[in-house]
Subunit: 176 residues, 2 copies
Amino acid sequence: MKLTPIMQKYILHWGEMGTRWGVNRTVAQIHALLYLSHEPLHAEEIAETLEVARSNVSTSLRELQSWGLVKIVHVMGDRRDHFESLEDLWEMFSVIMEERKRREIDPTLSMLRSCVLEGEADKATPEAIKKRVQDMLDFMETFSSWYEQMRHIPRPTLIKLFKLGSKVTNFIGKKA
Amino acid sequence: MKLTPIMQKYILHWGEMGTRWGVNRTVAQIHALLYLSHEPLHAEEIAETLEVARSNVSTSLRELQSWGLVKIVHVMGDRRDHFESLEDLWEMFSVIMEERKRREIDPTLSMLRSCVLEGEADKATPEAIKKRVQDMLDFMETFSSWYEQMRHIPRPTLIKLFKLGSKVTNFIGKKA
DNA sequence: CACTAATTTCAGTATATACTGAAATTAGTG
DNA sequence: CACTAATTTCAGTATATACTGAAATTAGTG
């Protein structure tokens, strides 16, 4: 696939951003490329377009699939696997949130809970420090349960809520 | 400072999480240590506690200060700089959001806008692809303006809003 | 303003991660 | 079921980033 300057700019920037979020450059670039592409691409084409090794593409695609951001499709008369990205951005966003929560927030909550638990019997750790741990746990649990509720709201309602922005406070202002 | 097992567990986990979010391990560990500590620490003590080079601590503290997460305080009768972390977690969270937006989202918005702009005169890029770029821009702008509104809501109202969770939809359900 | 403690800078090195290319494996096809 | 295309695995290498320790700088103190 031949990249136009606009596509190049987009993909390079995305790769750059990826690295800042703990996603490797190639993975982010492939995701960007597949998002832009209006048709599924096969691995060979991705490798040529981004000028990276075929094997690198293979690994990166596997990673993207494990996130649920990319899936395999097949094209009639072609035995190669083709890949396409989620295109709905709300969907994409929610998939990323979900995965990051599962991989990062949940383990952190476990860690915090176990710190609090061990803290009860532990006389070596000053109370002030135990309190900090407890505060962090409370904070993250508030957040986590907020998120848990948000993800069950039907998509259209959620979008409405977002577009409403700070106007929601008009309602709760009266109530609370 | 002597780390108890709980503190150690907390700090090591935090360092680990940091790396997944594009923050280097030592920076994240120092932040965790200062958050836990009920009193400001000087650089030497941080270096000893975490068993890293003094110079590394210096650089990392500078980074944390640039984020606004840590600030210098002075202790009577001691000429060394001491450091303490923000302790309010809502504050900490909002500082991190603010910085990440400034460093990552804003530049991405610029990139997307310039892609859309160049797209107008560009005949090489297929319309379908231009549309994807436009969609991404719209999505991120919705998000960004939502965030912009949220950050102007007074802290207590915001906290109320969070604790309310999905119940907010009760209100908008009737309205929208 | 000389002295010393504290801090920062920076070149060099270590470490972690990304990437390559060849070899091995898997899976379609006649 | 032999053949070949497609894909994956993996050891080796390259690259980016983190970290160290010595030297330079800064800034308090008598």
